[in-house]
Subunit: 405 residues, 2 copies
């Protein structure tokens, strides 16, 4: 049986990012760029005023005061028509282009319009200006040809804004992986049906679908596969059209655990079956090699807690890698055990736990957990607590690694 | 001018959660529940086997060994037909219902089928069992009528699974707020157009749209409103049908800063205009009271950095509250200044910064920032650094509050 680390290395080596695709900017949030982005523009595109005021010749204000003829008014979006010469000024708004001849802008608060004059005049008081004052020169922020974003950067709202500014309404990016989900088992009925005796509702399918969406994948829920080879094979073949196929159930040693056999019949190469892990030992992993792009196939154990743990340890990092992100899995932190925990057996264990933060103190307690089928107490968990293999009592106060759910 | 804290208190008091709505489970991920959820089922729905093996009468294994007649085989999804009596056993799979009469399950690994017998027999070796062993009794995980989730819990993938298990394919939850976005300014053209002289592309609209989606709102981008009262009023009236209307630009003191006037004409009550904040002072906030539900209206300054800071400080907490979450805004942490920073003036300042983590050391540096229009250097930022008002040199090594972008 392979270790968790070996299994993770194998699944990540099998996960090959698809070629990047052009993505409309409106759909690009949280994707990873696959190209360096060069600006096609200078920004600002013109010397621009950073205040509301008057564009002037700075030399006119050597003494701090002046009386100047108003030539025109330029708001943002306008273009100036007149050249500013000594003795004249142009009313200008924030963001508007500086007229030729002007080399500074005096703020509106330092001026007053002379209502009595025949021609419009402005009085400037107490405002000596240096050349360039209140002007942002063309290209200050970015220049034509300059690389402004690099391949492998994540597109956040700020980057969306910058891409819009430079007119990139489409970018090369790594698309979200398509993930097919198939719950298996004769005992399962859809959530909207009343189970007959012996049956239960399919809860893993909806949970895995939500996990996939949370991880930035695009989910395709294939529903429930009954434990019959042909029916299962049909659904599996459909699922293999995706980047990843996640099955739950059917990978243990029961007589109806048909999943590995059906997958092999469908041409999926078994890579490993069973991992030194609790819960989640029966995990099955294989790869379907095909010209349209490989499909990674995970057979998760049918118990909800095992399913969740296997998803977080192996499927989430794969989805991160396929998206171009660092495959770091859940965020790792540390907590202080609030209760004693008896660890038994040779499998490293991820135990559902509750982290509570009081000031600087980060206490974790293990949940009163009824075994790996207990979805209910799992809803109280906000982390998985890691215990290494070996029989050992972890006393309260021990610092343990935790992984935030 | 009001303070940041006063402004935040006012906007949050104005943000009233809409009545909860029924939401299909498939759309409920990350929403906040608005009802207590009681289980309609016992789980497991029957006493069930937790292993693959044989359901037996424990007393038959008092010595640890037995030879038992096999009655039938029950897989998950089946129902038992025969009562297990002393001397007999039923082959059973994990999850399948325990037949009447049986009170323990012996693991398959401890058994061997007797191939030589006329009737099917199983030999059990070395497996003394206590009553109840390898059986999970009906209702262990949850019971009919029991409250399993509470109003105000966030629906994570685990909760999606539990809701599916108990057949709740629709839940009462707080829906995502509808947020209309309107960029204003004669200088703006859409990102897919080449700006004429004096024009720039609309970058705030796409950035705010991405911020809204990141914050879990549903965006409705109204595009660009020119600085003309009637055109602006038409777009504003459309935007007022949303829970929140976010405008950018047009709230400063320029001659074409028509936004406050147009909003008032449309019946939006001014709540405040200008906040003691840098950048972002011109922020405008108002409320349109209407029978269909109030619309909160934010007029963000047109500069990208001001827009971003105002969104993070005021709009994000409002969206969090409308969704039923705690309105905590961006995550606050601390960092150690790596470079000196000279703070000036009476406005508290949020300065774009870069946090870099080396081991336990969390260094932040301020960005070389060309003023609030500089979208480009903002793409290097991963946090906002807070500096309190007053003229002061913050030497390198000072611990400062930061807010993660």
């Amino acid at each position: 049986m392979i270790s968790i680390d070996q299994a993770l290395q194998i699944v990540l080596e099998s996960a090959l990012r698809a070629a990047p695709e052009p993505v409309p900017l409106a759909d690009a949030l949280n994707l990873v760029l696959a190209e360096n982005i060069a600006s096609g523009i200078d920004s600002p595109p013109h010397d621009k005023s950073t205040v509301d005021g008057y564009a002037v010749v700075a030399a006119d204000l050597a003494t701090g005061t002046a009386r100047l003829a108003i030539l025109e008014e330029i708001t943002a979006g306008d273009v100036p028509h007149s050249k500013v010469k000594p003795g004249s000024a142009t009313r200008i708004m924030t963001g508007a282009p500086i007229p030729s001849g002007a080399d500074a802008v005096v703020m509106i608060e330092q001026t007053q319009i002379d209502e009595t004059a025949v021609r419009p005049m402005v009085e400037v008081f107490d405002s000596p200006l240096r050349v360039g004052e209140n002007i942002m020169p063309r290209g200050t922020s970015l220049r034509v040809g300059e690389t402004v974003l690099s391949a492998n950067q994540t597109i956040r709202p700020i980057e969306v804004g910058l891409l819009a500014e430079i007119g990139r309404t489409e970018v090369l990016a790594f698309r979200r992986p398509q993930v097919a989900i198939l719950a298996t088992g004769n005992e399962l009925v859809p959530a909207n049906r009343v189970p007959a005796p012996g049956q239960i509702r399919n809860s893993n399918g909806p949970m895995i679908r939500a996990l996939v969406e949370q991880a930035g994948g695009v989910s395709n829920d294939l529903g429930i596969g009954r434990d019959e080879k042909e029916a299962l094979a049909t659904l599996v073949r459909e699922g293999l059209n995706s980047d990843v196929l996640v099955l739950s159930g059917g990978v243990s040693a029961g007589v109806l655990d048909l999943v590995p056999e059906v997958l092999e019949m469908a041409g999926v190469e078994t890579v490993f079956h069973r991992v030194q892990l609790k819960p989640g030992k029966p995990l099955w992993f294989g790869v379907k090699r095909q010209p349209s792009g490989n499909c990674l196939v995970f057979g998760l154990p049918g118990n909800p807690v095992s399913s969740l743990v296997c998803f977080e340890l192996f499927v989430r990092p794969v989805l991160q890698k396929l998206r171009g992100h660092k495959p770091s899995g859940l965020e790792r932190q540390e907590g202080i055990l609030a209760t004693e925990h008896a660890q038994q057996g040779q499998r490293p264990t991820y135990f559902p736990g509750v982290l509570s933060i009081e000031g600087a103190r980060r206490e974790v307690r293990t949940l009163n957990w009824q075994g790996s089928a207990d979805q209910r107490s799992l809803t109280e968990a906000n982390c998985l607590i890691y215990f290494p293999p070996g029989d050992r009592i972890f006393t309260s106060g021990t610092v343990v690694p935790i992984f935030l759910l």
